[in-house]
Symmetry: C2
Subunit: 217 residues, 2 copies
């Protein structure tokens, strides 16, 4: 039975291909799990019922039969539990994959959230101009650790797993900055993830769901 | 068999009771899972072998038999899988709890990380003074959503779960700011968590492990 992923029916050009429903789409594509999309409008105000499903008013939400959940990390783990190609049953490999999902979302993404704020949403604010150098240093130090941890392996664990879906989609938030260009190990890792046919299908599907203009949900 | 939690043997006063090994300690205490601690020094440089266990050089790390893992969120889920008092076997309740663990760590904590930077670590920097008002607004909007989501329930799910360990320990990072004082629902929620005997034991145990001076690991 197909799962249902909630996504947006429109975003500005700069966000296309980066909205977080890409994560569960990619996970579904990796294991051949069919999914449908429920498209909602980004135009505020969101309807009250939506906050009951997603307390921040964001996407994605996953419906899987009678079960619904939010947060892309939780949704990734939920889908990953269905197939060893995303989450091994070996206890150590399973633990390593889940650790890296959290590492991507709690240790790497927060700095990149703020970088998006500094370089895009608040770029004209004086604080943002002053903050940028130290923020780039903070993120850079974290990414240097990630380079060491990845070493010469292709993926974070012994094989591709849900951890790589999380980390590649997090790192793509920096794909226009020197943070990745200066770290060929990470740039190659992101390229490797994006070259997977499942990623390409997920990306194409997200882009195909956008309407020319913001439409009511 | 006891699990082993890696913690620090010293931190400055302001950090005592807030280091993230508190999370797995609390989880263990809730279910009566015995644990030992391995104490490491906060004084750099960390030994190379430690980065093999924890790529950021932080705590906690969990050892559970032959399995080791890092990231407090992953460790919380690992412990929670052992006992329905932390993670229900009901599919929806399980999904809700895991969603809120990620919500705490990926949607709420990132703003509070930056607030720690603005109010403590970088407080004398010009950018930090300029950033504070908008950051407080950003976090406040998120916390207002959390107030709505919590409603008049005692815990994030139908009963106390691992989600509350994650969220209460995240919110405690703001316990000295008006962010919680201005939101009695959240202040009461944090107090409720901290009043649990298991929390009190975990807190006492973390404090008891600190040495008077930083000691080599």
């Amino acid at each position: 039975m197909a799962v249902e992923i909630t996504a947006l029916n429109w975003v500005p050009d700069f966000a296309r291909g980066y909205v977080r429903d890409l994560r569960p789409r990619w996970a579904c594509e990796e294991i051949g799990l069919p999914y449908t999309t429920r498209l909602i409008s980004p135009v505020p105000p969101k309807p009250d019922w939506y906050f009951d499903e997603q307390p921040w008013g964001q996407v994605p939400v996953l419906h899987d039969g009678d079960v619904q959940l939010f947060e892309s990390g939780a949704i990734l783990l939920h889908i990953a539990e269905k197939d060893i190609r995303l989450l091994s049953r070996d206890p150590q490999q399973r633990a390593t994959s889940i650790a890296w999902v959290f590492a991507a979302l709690n240790s790497v993404e927060p700095g990149l959230f703020e970088l998006g704020n500094v370089t895009l949403f608040s770029k004209d604010a004086e604080w943002a101009k002053l903050r940028r150098p130290s923020l780039m240093e903070d993120i850079g130090r974290k990414l240097d650790r990630l380079v060491d941890a990845l070493g010469d392996r292709a993926w974070l664990g012994d094989a591709f797993s849900v951890a790589d879906i999380a980390m590649v989609t997090v790192l793509r938030n920096a794909d226009k900055s020197e943070l990745l260009r200066a770290r060929p190990t990470l740039a190659a890792y992101v390229e490797r993830g994006m070259a997977r046919p499942a990623f390409e299908r997920a990306m194409a599907a997200q882009l195909a769901d956008f309407q020319p203009e913001p439409a009511a949900a």
